[in-house]
Amino acid sequence: MVRVDGGGNGSSLVRVRGLDKKYQRGSEEIHVLQGLNLDVDAGDFVAFMGPSGSGKTTLLNLLGGLDLPTAGTITVAGDEITHLSGSKLTHWRARHVGFVFQMYNLIPVLTAFQNVELPLLLTKLSKAERRQHVELALEVVGLKDRTHHYPRQLSGGQEQRVGIARAIVADPTFLLCDEPTGDLDRRSADEIMDLIDRLVREHNKTVLLVTHDPVAAERAHVVLHLNKGVLVEGQRVEEKAAVRS
């Protein structure tokens, strides 16, 4: 159950309270997020929409432990991350977060296999176990036959699939997807959204997605609009289903 009113119970997977983020640009102070509350349960699929500069990516970065808030708390699976030190936060990211980026951000000199293997290098898995996990992840995204291809040898859609395989290979607590279809044509974008949809339905992944694309957002259980630093709840999946019927 996704809530933005701060009224969720303590069982939420992601729990955000009073989140504030301010930037200083020259002499100007920009208040990007203002006292934001959010509760997301395990297995939820949430889409964040909003105009450019509304703070969507900032919110995602905060949830992923890449940035620190000016005020407020973020608790993920019982761990409050807003007070963790830099190295602890890095360690926490490795265990809990799978990132999917708009520009795929694959390392060009590594093969698909090696790119997907990266998060596993931080674990104690043996080489054989890592291989098993990577092959499984690439199979899930439908790219088992592209194991030894370099990013330049893949299409945009395939690159993003490798990016998703990298995000899920270590079985993180949740996936943070920052406009994963933003750089793709409609068909490839739909394929990627099918894949993310499948990860939620079949593998019970929790996905937080930032997008400009209403078609992509349509797949989410709930769409939250970020406007002037505040989250506003959109339609829920049940409501959407009701509208459709």
Partner: protein
Amino acid sequence: MKYSALILSNLFRKKIRTVLTIGSFAVALFLFGLLAVVRGAFNQGVEVAGTDRLVVINKVSIIQPLPVSYNERLLRIHGIKEVTHQNWFGGVYQDERNFFPQMAIDDDTFHTMYPEYVLPDDQWQAYMSDREGAVVGADLVKRFHWKLGDRIPIKGTIFQGTWDFNIRGIYHGKKVEDDTTQFWFHYKYLEERESQYWKGLVGWYTVKVDNPDDSVRVAKEIDETFSNSPWETKTDTEKAFATSFAKQAGNIQLLILSIGAVVFFTLLLVTGNTMAIAVRERVRDLAVLKAVGFSDVFVLVLVLAESVLIAAIGGALGLGFAKLLTRNGDPTHGMLPFFYLSPQTVVAGFAVTVAVGVVAGLLPALSAMNLNVVDALRRV
């Protein structure tokens, strides 16, 4: 090593740049190797000089002789254990380019004075029983393809005429750096043939002291003993003597150190710049690594490892080429008998290379370590 793919793959990101940087290291270390060999060749005498030996020369100059009667007087000085003497012959074998030192030695004392030169007893006996006998170093034998029993004509430059010698012995050094390019023959033979001018005169003395710590006092006492005589002396340790001899060719050490320092400093700038560019080009990749969960320290080590690896490969290549070029020894036909790249020099060169790799990679590595993930991912 599970991170090896990550390190190695980055080296192939810009192949030409990597090859050129490795090439810079290779050239620099090749130069370092050669300079070290030349420095070693000039300082060979210093390196192998005995700590318990003093050299006594004529105060005017080493080319001025000393009387053979000093031998007994030297032995009477407290602290002196042994005395021997030598004469520089300065002859030419076949061609002036075939330079090697020829010395008339005092047979009774020379052998025990220089235990670092090893010669079979039977060969020494054969030499002793032949008035025209000679003992030659193993390097000379190799260079001129001589063998025992060969008759060697040496044309005198200081001592007139052609002198024929029979090779009766071949000596080796106990250590690789011992000089095995010398040619020894009997002082008595020289004295007999040059009796008109050289009877009773020797080139210089070498004395062995009981205690090396006593060398300064003994040297002073020797010079005081012969002061105000027609043949005043100048006594120094063998090391100091060899050093001043090496300095006759100029301050080779300073020259070589200066060149080496400039080369390595330039290399540091070039590599530092290359690594800085390499890091700047893959800011996003490094940010992704951090986002995925790699620590700041890991990123620092990753960049440093690349820098060190480039340096190590280039250094190994350069030193390898230098070793290859110097394996045949002295290219100057006798001027630099100790033309050899020692294992110590190779290790020192490699250590310097790795140090340059670390220093050159340090600033880019620190900037990579301090990279802000959010800012870096925002860059297109």
